[in-house]
C-alpha cells in the first residue's frame, strides 16, 4: 500500500520540480568550496541564503551547490534592474544587509522607497507601480512566507484608504507614503512589543527550550534577562545550519545559563523544561506555524508531556496559507551537511521547514497581543476579506 500513498507520490513530484533561482547567489561564491559529496545539487531557498548570511553560517555543501547553480543558471532573471534606474530588489538588498532587520520589514522599507521614487502622476499609476514592485519582490523568493505576507499586508494597508480618491494627487501620495512609513515603523517595532508582551509568561527559575535561532525569541530572552528574571535556556543545536549554537552564544553573552542539546535530545530533556518558545517563518490561517525543521517534533513531544508551547511571531508573518499536511507547502530546500560523504543512491531530505498544526500550540505572542491559534484566522479574515 505504501507505494500508493500520496506522500510517496508527492515527494517525487516535488523533487523534480525546478525552482527559479535568485540572482543573489554570486555574492557568496568567494569562499573556498569543499569537494561536494551531495550528488544532486538543487537550487536553494533564497530565504535560507539570507539567514545564512546574517548568521554567518556557511556550510561547504551549500556553497558548492550555489556555485554549481550559478554556473547552470546564468544571471538572467533580474527583471527590474535594467528597466529603470530604481530597482526594488536593489533597495531591498540594501535594507536586507542590516542583520537586525527582518526580511519582511526590509521589503516594506523597499516598497516605501518605491513610492518615494515613483514618478507616477495618478493614484492608479502609483498603485500599479507598487503592485509590480511587490510582485517582483514576491517572486524574488517564493518560498519566504513572511516576505510574501509582508508585501500583501503592505499593499492592503497602504492602498486601502477610502479617502484617497478625493484628494489631490500629491497630498494623496504623501499620505500613502506616510502610511507606508508608519507600517514600516510598526513592523520594525513589532519585535519589541512582542518581547514586552511575553514577559508575563516567563517566571523566575523556569527552564525554556528554544529551537534554532529566532530574533524574536532572542529579543524576548534578552528583555527577560534585562528584567532580572532568573531562568535557564536549553538550546537545540539546530542542524544543519547550527543556528542554535549562535543563539547559545548570544545568550551566554547576556549571562543567561544556557545548555546546548543535540536535536535528538529534546525528548530526553523535556521533563526539565517548563515551556517551549519558537519563532516562526510564517503563521498560517489554521493558526499553525511554519518554522525551521524540527519544530513539529518538539511541539509533539512538548504536547505529549503537557508543556506549554509558545510561538513568537510578528503579525506581518500571518499568511493566507492553509497547509493540510507537511507536504502541502512550497518546499524551501537547503543543503544538508552530514559531515560524512553521503553514499551514492541515497536520497537526502533537504526541506528546511515543517508545519506545526495549531492543536500543539498553546499561545502565539504577536504584536497584536497574545493570541490563541484560532484567533489568527480571525485576524486574517478581518485583514483580507
Amino acid at each position: 500500500m505504501w507505494r500508493r500513498s500520496a506522500s510517496f507520490v508527492l515527494d517525487k513530484h516535488h523533487n523534480n520540480k525546478p525552482i527559479s533561482l535568485t540572482p543573489s547567489l554570486d555574492s557568496m561564491a568567494e569562499v573556498n568550496p569543499n569537494p561536494n559529496p551531495n550528488p544532486n545539487p538543487n537550487p536553494i531557498s533564497a530565504y535560507y541564503q539570507t539567514r545564512a548570511k546574517h548568521h554567518g553560517i556557511v556550510t561547504s555543501d551549500w556553497l558548492e551547490q550555489a556555485q554549481a547553480a550559478v554556473v547552470r543558471y546564468p544571471d538572467k532573471d533580474s527583471p527590474v534592474a535594467g528597466r529603470r534606474p530604481f530597482s526594488v530588489i536593489e533597495e531591498f538588498d540594501c535594507w536586507r544587509q542590516q542583520p537586525d532587520l527582518a526580511e519582511a520589514v526590509a521589503a516594506v522599507r523597499a516598497l516605501a522607497a518605491v513610492i518615494r521614487a515613483s514618478e507616477a502622476t495618478t493614484m492608479m499609476e502609483l498603485e500599479i507601480e507598487l503592485k509590480k514592485a511587490s510582485d517582483t519582490l514576491k517572486s524574488w523568493d517564493t518560498t519566504s512566507i513572511s516576505l510574501t505576507a509582508g508585501c500583501d499586508l503592505f499593499m492592503r494597508y497602504v492602498t486601502r484608504t477610502s479617502a484617497l480618491e478625493f484628494e489631490d494627487f500629491n497630498a494623496a501620495k504623501a499620505r500613502v507614503l506616510g502610511r507606508a512609513e508608519k507600517f514600516g515603523e510598526i513592523s520594525y517595532k513589532a519585535r519589541k512589543i512582542i518581547a514586552v508582551l511575553s514577559q508575563d509568561f516567563i517566571f523566575d527559575w523556569c527552564t525554556i527550550l528554544v529551537h534554532g535561532f529566532s530574533r524574536v525569541v532572542l529579543e524576548i530572552l534578552k528583555t527577560a534577562a534585562q528584567n532580572k528574571k532568573l531562568f535557564r535556556v536549553l538550546c537545540t543545536e539546530g542542524r544543519p545550519d547550527k543556528t542554535g549554537v549562535l543563539l547559545a552564544k548570544e545568550l551566554a553573552k547576556l549571562d543567561v545559563p544556557v545548555k546546548l542539546l543535540i536535536d535528538s535530545a529534546v525528548a530526553y530533556s523535556m521533563d526539565e523544561v517548563d515551556m517551549v518558545i519558537f519563532g516562526a517563518d510564517g503563521v498560517v490561517e489554521s493558526g499553525g506555524v511554519i518554522n525551521m525543521m524540527g519544530t513539529y517534533q518538539i511541539a509533539l513531544v512538548a504536547h505529549t508531556m503537557n508543556k506549554p508551547v509558545y510561538v513568537a511571531a510578528e503579525s506581518y508573518k500571518f499568511a493566507r496559507l492553509y497547509p493540510l499536511d507537511q507536504k502541502d507547502l512550497e518546499p524551501a530546500l537547503r543543503p544538508v551537511d552530514f559531515g560524512v560523504p553521503v553514499p551514492p543512491k541515497v536520497e537526502v531530505e533537504r526541506s528546511a521547514r515543517d508545519y506545526t498544526p495549531p492543536q500543539y500550540l498553546t499561545m502565539l505572542f504577536t504584536d497584536l497581543g497574545v493570541l490563541t491559534p484560532s484567533v489568527v484566522s480571525d485576524e486574517l479574515i478581518q485583514l483580507y476579506l
Binding site: R156, D325, S377
Partner: protein, 657 residues
C-alpha cells in the same frame, strides 16, 4: 498593531463574551437593555447579538422611568440575599407585579395580527436562553414563524415580557435557577446598588405597592408550589398602571378577569421564546398543529423514545392525499405547492437544490401576489410567506440553509421602503431573491471549487461520502484541469445517494472506487483527503450533515487523513449544536426495515407487529469540530474555529438589519 488596522476598513471592535446589541443604529435608538435587569440577563444569556431584542429594534423607545420604577425597583426590593428561597420569593413577587401591571401588554397581544400569532405561540415554550437567541432565525425556519412582524409592533413590551417569562411559570423556575445561578450571583451586587439608588426615586405609593407585593409574595411562597401558578395570575390592584405605555393600536381590552390575563401572558411568553422545532412530544401542541395543518399526516407506530421530540410521520401516504386536494387549497400558491410535493416525494434532494427550488417558488408567488385592499404589503406578504413556509415544513422539515434563506427573504420584505409601489416592491424582492441564489449559492459554489482544487494534487486518493453537489463539482473540475487522482465514494443505505455521484463521475472518466460505509475503516488507509458536503455548520464548528458523516470524519481523523468540508457561507448558523439528538430529522422507518431481495412477506410480519421493535432512520448527524481540518467556503479556506467570525462579520449585512 492596532493603528495599522484602523483605517484598513471599518474599524472593528471585537466584542468578546455576552453582548446583546449589535450597534445602536442612529435612526432607531434602542432602549438600554442593561436596565431591564437580572431576570433578563438570565434568560437572554446568548453569546450572539442576534437575539430578537437585538435585532428588532422597537420603533418607540421605552421611557426609562418605567424600568426604574417598576421593573427594577420591584424586583430589587426583596432582600438580595443569594439563596433559593430568596430567589423564589423574588420571582413570585415580581411575577405578581408584572401580571398586574402590564395590562396593555396583554391587550396588545390580543389585538396583534392573527396570522402571525399562529403556530409560533403554540410551538414555543421553552425558556432556555439559547433558544431565545436565535428566534430571529427561527422565525424563518419555523412553522409560520411570523413573529418578527409582531415583535416589531410589540417590541416596547418585549423586555417586560421577558421578565415575565422568566418569572411567571412555576414549572420553569427551576430551569431559571439552574441556568442562571452563575449570573444571578453576578447580578446581585448590581441589583443591590440599583435598589439603593432607586429607592430614593420611588414615590411613596410605589414603595407601598412594592411592600404589598412582597407581602403577597411571602404568602405565595408559604403556600404550596402548585398553587403558585394560580396565585401569580392574580391581579395586583395596588399596582399603579400609570406608566406612559407606548401603544400602537391598543384599545384597553380590559381583561380584568385574572384567568384571561394568565392565558395571554402565557401566550406571550410562548411567542417570545420560540424554539427551533416544535417539540413533538408535547401532546397539546401537536394536536393544535394538526388541526391547522394542510397535509394530513399519520404518525408512525413504534417511536424511538429518545427522538420523540422530532416529527414522526409516515412518509408516502400523504402524497396522494395532497395531490388530490390541490384545487381545494387556494391559500398555497401553486408553485409552492409543487415544491412542497417535490420535497415530500423526495424528488428534490440536497440542500442547495431544495433551497433554490423553494426560492424560485417564492419568486413566482411574489410575482403573482397582489396586496388585498386595506392591507399593508409588508405585513400581508410576510404572513403569506409564513403560510407557505409552514406548508413546506409539513411536507418536510426545513433544512438549516432553507431557514437562513427564508430569514433573508423576510428581512428583505421588512426592509422594503414604505413609499415603494407594489409592482416596484415585488420586482425588487424578486431581484433580491435572484441575487441571493446567484451570489450565495451558485457563485459561492464556483469560488469553493476554485479554492478546493488547490488542495488536490497529483496522485491523491480522495474520499467522499454520499452525494454533495459541491464535492461533485470539485472532483469534476479537478479532473477537467488535468489533475491525476482517484476517488473513493462511500455510500450508505437506505438512500444510496453515492450511486448518483458514482454514475456521474464514471461517465466523465474519473477513476472511482465505490464502497459502503461498513468498509470505511479498511479503505481509509489509502486515502489522502476526505471531502465532505454539509447541511449546515454551527458556530462552535460542529458540522451538521447527512447521517454517517461523523463516522467517516472520525475514521479519517484516526487515520490522520485531513477532512475538508465544503460549505457555502449561507449555510452557517449562529447557533451551537452539541449532539445529534436535539436537532435532527427522522426519515421513513420502513426504509430501514425493508431490505430488498429478502422474503418480504414473512419479514414484514415479524417486523410490523412487534411492540419491542423500533426503527430509527435518522437523517443527520453532527460532527464535532475537532474532526474537521478545514472548511472551504466562499470566503476562502478557514478552520472550523472561524465560523463565528464569518457569521459575525458577513452575515449581518446580508440577513439582518
Amino acid at each position: 498593531m492596532d493603528p495599522r488596522r484602523g483605517p484598513l476598513a471599518v474599524p472593528k471592535v471585537r466584542r468578546v463574551g455576552f453582548f446583546t446589541s449589535i450597534e445602536p443604529s442612529p435612526e432607531t435608538p434602542r432602549p438600554n437593555r442593561s436596565l431591564s435587569g437580572p431576570a433578563e440577563a438570565i434568560t437572554s444569556s446568548s453569546p450572539l447579538s442576534d437575539s430578537p431584542s437585538g435585532q428588532f429594534i422597537s420603533p418607540v423607545q421605552i421611557p426609562p422611568s418605567r424600568h426604574h420604577s417598576d421593573n427594577l425597583a420591584s424586583r430589587a426590593a426583596p432582600v438580595p440575599v443569594p439563596g433559593p428561597s430568596a430567589f423564589r420569593r423574588q420571582l413570585a413577587n415580581d411575577r405578581a407585579l408584572h401580571v398586574g401591571s402590564y395590562n396593555p401588554v396583554d391587550s396588545l397581544l390580543g389585538t396583534s395580527p392573527p396570522s402571525s400569532n399562529g403556530e409560533v405561540s403554540e410551538d414555543s415554550g421553552s425558556l432556555f436562553g439559547f433558544q431565545r437567541s436565535d428566534s430571529a432565525k427561527l422565525s424563518a425556519s419555523f412553522p409560520n414563524g411570523g413573529f418578527d412582524m409582531t415583535l416589531r409592533v410589540r417590541a416596547p413590551q418585549e423586555s417586560e415580557a421577558k421578565v415575565a417569562i422568566a418569572s411567571t411559570s412555576d414549572g420553569r423556575k427551576k430551569n431559571v435557577e439552574a441556568s442562571g445561578e452563575g449570573e444571578s450571583v453576578a447580578a446581585k451586587p448590581l441589583k443591590e446598588k440599583e435598589t439603593k439608588s432607586l429607592k430614593e426615586k420611588t414615590s411613596k405609593a410605589e414603595r407601598r405597592a412594592i411592600q404589598e407585593a412582597q407581602r403577597a409574595a411571602k404568602a405565595a411562597a408559604k403556600g404550596e408550589g402548585s398553587k403558585r401558578a394560580g396565585e401569580s395570575s392574580r391581579p395586583k390592584p395596588s399596582k399603579p398602571a400609570k406608566q406612559p405605555q407606548p401603544k400602537k393600536e391598543a384599545p384597553q381590552a380590559t381583561s380584568s378577569v385574572s384567568e384571561k390575563r394568565a392565558v395571554s401572558v402565557e401566550k406571550e411568553r410562548r411567542m417570545d421564546v420560540p424554539q427551533t422545532q416544535m417539540q413533538y412530544d408535547d401532546k397539546s401542541r401537536v394536536d393544535k398543529a394538526k388541526r391547522r395543518s394542510v397535509v394530513e399526516q399519520t404518525e408512525s407506530k413504534n417511536k424511538v423514545e429518545l427522538f420523540l421530540h422530532l416529527p414522526q410521520y409516515e412518509r408516502g401516504n400523504q402524497l396522494p392525499n395532497l395531490s388530490s386536494n390541490i384545487f381545494s387549497l387556494d391559500t398555497i400558491h401553486h408553485a409552492v405547492y409543487k415544491v412542497g410535493l417535490q420535497h415530500l416525494a423526495g424528488d428534490i434532494a440536497g440542500d442547495n437544490a431544495r433551497c433554490i427550488a423553494m426560492l424560485h417558488a417564492f419568486q413566482e408567488a411574489i410575482n403573482d401576489y397582489t396586496t388585498p385592499p386595506m392591507k399593508d404589503l409588508t405585513m400581508d406578504l410576510t404572513a403569506k410567506i409564513n403560510g407557505y413556509v409552514s406548508f413546506l415544513i409539513e411536507c418536510r422539515p426545513l433544512s438549516m440553509s432553507m431557514g437562513n434563506a427564508i430569514r433573508f427573504l423576510k428581512n428583505q420584505i421588512r426592509k422594503l421602503p414604505v413609499d415603494l409601489s407594489e409592482p416596484e416592491a415585488k420586482a425588487s424582492l424578486c431581484s433580491e431573491i435572484g441575487r441571493f441564489i446567484d451570489e450565495k449559492i451558485l457563485l459561492a459554489d464556483k469560488v469553493i471549487v476554485q479554492h478546493a482544487v488547490t488542495k488536490i494534487r497529483d496522485g491523491e486518493v480522495l474520499l467522499t461520502y454520499g452525494f454533495s453537489c459541491v464535492v461533485e463539482m470539485i472532483l469534476l473540475y479537478a479532473h477537467e484541469i488535468g489533475r491525476k487522482f482517484r476517488v473513493v465514494i462511500v455510500d450508505s443505505r437506505p438512500n444510496l445517494e453515492g450511486q448518483k455521484l458514482l454514475r456521474r463521475l464514471v461517465t466523465r472518466g474519473l477513476d472511482c472506487t465505490y464502497t459502503h460505509i461498513n468498509a470505511v475503516s479498511y479503505i481509509m488507509g489509502e486515502v489522502t483527503r476526505v471531502f465532505l458536503g454539509a447541511s449546515s455548520i454551527f458556530s462552535n464548528g460542529t458540522l451538521y450533515s447527512k447521517v454517517g458523516t461523523a463516522c467517516v470524519a472520525m475514521v479519517a481523523n484516526a487515520f490522520s487523513v485531513p477532512v475538508i468540508v465544503c460549505c457555502e457561507a449561507y449555510k452557517f448558523h449562529e447557533r451551537v449544536l452539541l449532539d445529534s439528538i436535539c436537532s435532527n430529522e427522522l426519515g421513513d422507518p420502513d426504509a430501514i426495515a425493508n431490505v430488498p431481495l429478502r422474503n418480504n412477506k414473512k419479514h414484514s410480519k415479524t417486523m410490523d407487529n412487534n411492540k419491542n421493535l423500533q426503527f430509527l432512520n435518522l437523517m443527520y448527524d453532527s460532527t464535532p469540530a475537532e474532526y474537521i481540518s478545514m472548511i472551504v467556503t466562499d470566503y476562502g479556506m478557514i478552520p472550523p474555529t472561524s465560523i463565528p467570525v464569518i457569521v459575525r462579520e458577513y452575515r449581518r449585512e446580508d440577513l439582518l438589519l
